[in-house]
Amino acid sequence: MNDIKERKARLQQLVADILQEAKAQGASAAEAGVSSDAGLSLNVRMGEPETIEHTRDSGLGVTVYFGQRKGSANTSDLSPEAVRETVRAACNFARYTSEDDCSGLADAGLMATDLPDLDLYHPWEQSVDEAIELAQTCEAAARDQDSRIVNSEGASVDSHAGLHVYGNSHGFISGYPSSRHSMSCAVVGQDGDSMQRDYWYSQSRRHEDLETPEAVGRIAAERTVSRLGARRIATGEAPVLFQADVAVGLLRSFLGAIRGSALYRKASFLLDHLDQRVFPEFVRIHEMPYLPRGLASAAFDSEGVATREQDFVSDGILRSYLLDSYAARKMGMQSTGNAGGVHNLRTTSGSLDLQGLLSKMGRGLLVTELMGQGVNTVTGDYSRGAAGFWVEGGEIQYPVEEITIAGNLKEMMLGLQDIGCDVETRTSVQTGSWLIDHMMIAGK
């Protein structure tokens, strides 16, 4: 623990030096971030270790302002010469960029002053052999689960721990250590001519919070086998239930549309929708930056602005955009502490689990996988490849693949019937399964 405190002090000093150097080179304001991370990534396949990677990454990024002109530079080399050269490069760029009224550091009054320990640092003291054994257990659980599991892409264990420090010339300098561990497994199933692959993973700040290797392997195998014999369905309209892990993608698309950078460019289908209904009344979407061990917990954003508990949507009404200080100034508003993204987002969840939602839907499509990039944030047009299951009478009938689902996000959001209590917790944006009243399905 002393070691990490020492390293943190060293990185804080480095940030202070960078800011000092920027000032010495004539910058009127500057900000810098430094990070350093080390870890182990390994993969076991068919029972044998396949790749063992020792990772060690460090980097610094600096942005300087000469009045309203801005320049930035970054490097993986933290030596004093490289730092000076990097600051010089940033200052050089600031000579050629334009005056921009909205550019600059975040307002000094918004800097975080309350910096609680969010319990994000739990390094995993394990040997390479122990990690290999864990991955082997995980993969074996998947391969032993069902005789139709005929091949494997393997099981992986990843563990990383590091430090991040940010500072700016308002006098704000702060940083914190964090860790992140994950375990995943992907296997191939075969039944006759049908070959399918699927995976499962678990991720957390503390390795004790990971699902057991047996559970990860078993779920990966169950998901794979359940897809065997998938067929296409006829083109037509139907209700669609997005399983929690893919519903997260819909929530992210919504966030993309209320992000300041999309709004000031008029590149969002939610332009001018503040205080308007965008979801049914039961929906609340709120941010919780201070969750202990949360995957996206942080007391300050990437500009040093204090993060806050806030609602983006309540009673189905859009209450706030998602802004950093640049976008906020562009729009005559104030930063919402979201430079760099959101910090643990959660939606309302109802009382029904996935089975309950299937019953509620009755007849329709359960989507468990989405493919491709067919989301247009400017228009809300949505058309993506999908796989999942056809549902009749609230029961899964057979697996479905090679179809697309299409609609418009604005209508899909308003057509949201329910959100399940089966909340996906492995991501920084969390929600349960989403039942949408209807979408166009293209198949045979």
Binding site: R45, E48, P49, E50, T51, I52, E53, H54, T55, R56, D57, K70, S72, A73, N74, T75, S76, D77, E85, T86, N92, F93, R95, Y96, T97, S98, E99, D100, V128, N151, E153, V188, M195, R197, A230, R265, K266, A267, M371, G372, Q373, G374, N376, V378, T379, D381, S383, R384, G385, A387, E401, E402, I403, T404, I405, A406, M440, I441, A442, K444
Partner: protein
């Protein structure tokens, strides 16, 4: 010593006082004791990017990334470690960490030798200094002005200019010593147009392994601006795309992303060694209609996806993947080639020194056929003509792929008619390839903006194809 190796020495080794004997010593740590192969990859990469938005130069940034990655292979096992410090001690530490996949220590000697003459597909230049900063800024402003003057409905123009100067050197226990200097430039234009309440977007861009002058030649940058606006205006008129299975005609050039997704990934050596691809074990079988010949060609001079040597020091090749519909070969790096008992095809690529090499595509395209493109369109009674795409994705095990159109039209009674909103096309690789019934005589390659992602690693690639007709493909619109 060849010129390239000389440059790489001066850029990568000399600044920290590393020399030939240190290379030999590091490799010496990596031989013997059950290690079959090992390599050290040194890299220095400088990237510069500029962004124009709202008519002003909003951002300029510079990035320096350098280090060395060390890999040791024993059977199917790979150990890997890297260091961003190009000093002997951390490099020896990394070598020992990488070789820890076997229990015994290393004790051997390796003598590397550079290829005497490597065919160079691009000049070993630093593109970042090919224009002055003022000239780069001026280029961005001209592109912005060109886009805005096309039409008063243009409301937003974003232009980005990126240049990379990449110097690499790889030394391996098989005696390989190879180096490359890889310039890469790219310009992208993105516009938003507005008409009443309706807003749409369009984008275009291009680049090459060349200096920034490439973007000025033939007014290329201005052509991209005009093209982005044209595409956005077409989308203002677009109606809902139909939903269902129908004939699809794909235009020449960038729609070749179809081949990248439907064929290319499934033919990468790693998936086929493991037997997880829909194409596994099918060499010699018919996997596409007889009119299809598909190649992966890393040897095209100056192309974005081209490489004089790959990241393992193997000279790039023109590899035939499918010939007259019959599967001919896979794309190999050294590791998978050795395990499958074949030769590397020069497709071992990595995002950087901090990533492991994988079998990857370079420029993947279909050779031209005999049909006039107009004849192909005229053959369709009711279908879709898709000419521009966003990106794609493939599940190599089931063969399912998708790609999303950013510019497409209805074909009605043999004529291209109304534009339709971005529809996603979905199919199964081997099945869709069998459905290709007409191949045009108008082969075109893309303009040089492609990025391919695999296992979290991004590398620049190229695609291309002539106009072609797929008899049945599922179109994912909302209309009927």
């Amino acid at each position: 010593m060849s010129d390239l190796i000389q440059i790489a020495h001066e850029t990568l080794l000399a600044p920290t006082g590393l020399g030939e004997s240190d290379l030999d010593r590091m490799l010496g740590e990596l031989v013997g004791g059950g290690i079959d192969a090992a390599d050290i990859y040194f890299q220095s990469s400088r990237l510069e990017s500029w962004v124009l938005e709202d008519g002003i130069i909003k951002e300029g940034s510079h990035s320096i990334d350098q280090g060395a990655g060390i890999r040791a292979i024993s059977g199917e096992k790979t150990g890997f470690a890297y260091s961003d410090e190009l000093h002997l001690t951390p490099l020896i530490d990394a070598a020992r960490a990488a070789r820890a996949i076997t229990r015994s220590g290393g004790a051997g000697t390796v003598k590397v030798a550079g290829l005497t003459s490597v065919r160079q597909l691009y000049q070993p230049i630093n593109p970042l200094i090919s224009l002055t900063e003022s000239e780069k800024v001026e280029l961005l402003r001209r592109v912005d002005a060109e886009a805005r003057k096309q039409d008063s409905r243009v409301k937003q123009v974003m232009v980005s200019l990126v240049g990379t100067h990449d110097v690499m050197m790889v030394a391996a226990t098989d005696g390989t010593l190879s180096a490359d200097v890889r310039p890469l430039v790219r310009l992208n234009v993105h516009v938003i147009v507005e008409q009443g309440e309706r807003r749409e977007q369009g984008s275009s861009g291009g680049g090459a392994r060349d200096s920034f002058q490439f973007l000025l030649d033939e007014e290329r940058a201005l052509v991209f601006a005009r093209e982005a606006v044209r595409q956005a205006l077409v989308n203002l008129e677009a109606v809902d795309a139909p939903a269902g299975t129908m004939p699809v005609v794909l235009g020449p050039g960038w729609p070749g992303v179809l081949l990248h997704e439907a064929v290319g990934h499934g033919l990468e050596g790693d998936f086929n060694r493991k037997g997880t691809s829909a194409f596994s074990g099918r060499i010699g079988e018919k996997v596409a209609s007889s009119s299809c010949t598909v190649v992966d060609d890393g040897t095209l001079p100056g192309r974005r996806g081209s490489l004089s040597v790959d990241d393992e020091g193997t000279e790039s090749q023109n590899t035939v993947l499918i010939e007259d519909g019959v599967l001919k070969g896979y794309l190999q790096d050294k590791h998978n080639a050795r395990l499958m008992g074949v030769e590397s095809t020069g497709n071992g690529r990595r995002e950087s020194y901090a990533h492991l090499p994988l079998p990857r595509m370079t420029n993947t395209y279909m050779l031209p056929g005999s049909y006039d493109p107009q004849e192909i369109i005229a053959s369709v009674d009711k279908g879709i003509y898709a000419v521009n795409f966003g990106g794609g994705q493939v599940d190599i095990t089931s063969g399912r792929f998708v790609f999303s159109a950013s510019e497409a039209y209805l074909i009605e009674k043999g004529k291209v008619t109304t534009p339709v909103k971005g529809a996603t096309l979905i199919g199964n690789g081997p099945e869709a390839m069998m459905q290709i019934s007409m191949v045009g005589n108008d082969l075109a390659l893309d303009q040089g903006v492609g990025v391919c992602g695999k296992e979290g690693q991004s590398v620049p690639v190229g695609v291309g194809q002539p106009t072609l007709r797929i008899d049945e493909l599922t179109v994912g619109g909302t209309g009927v």
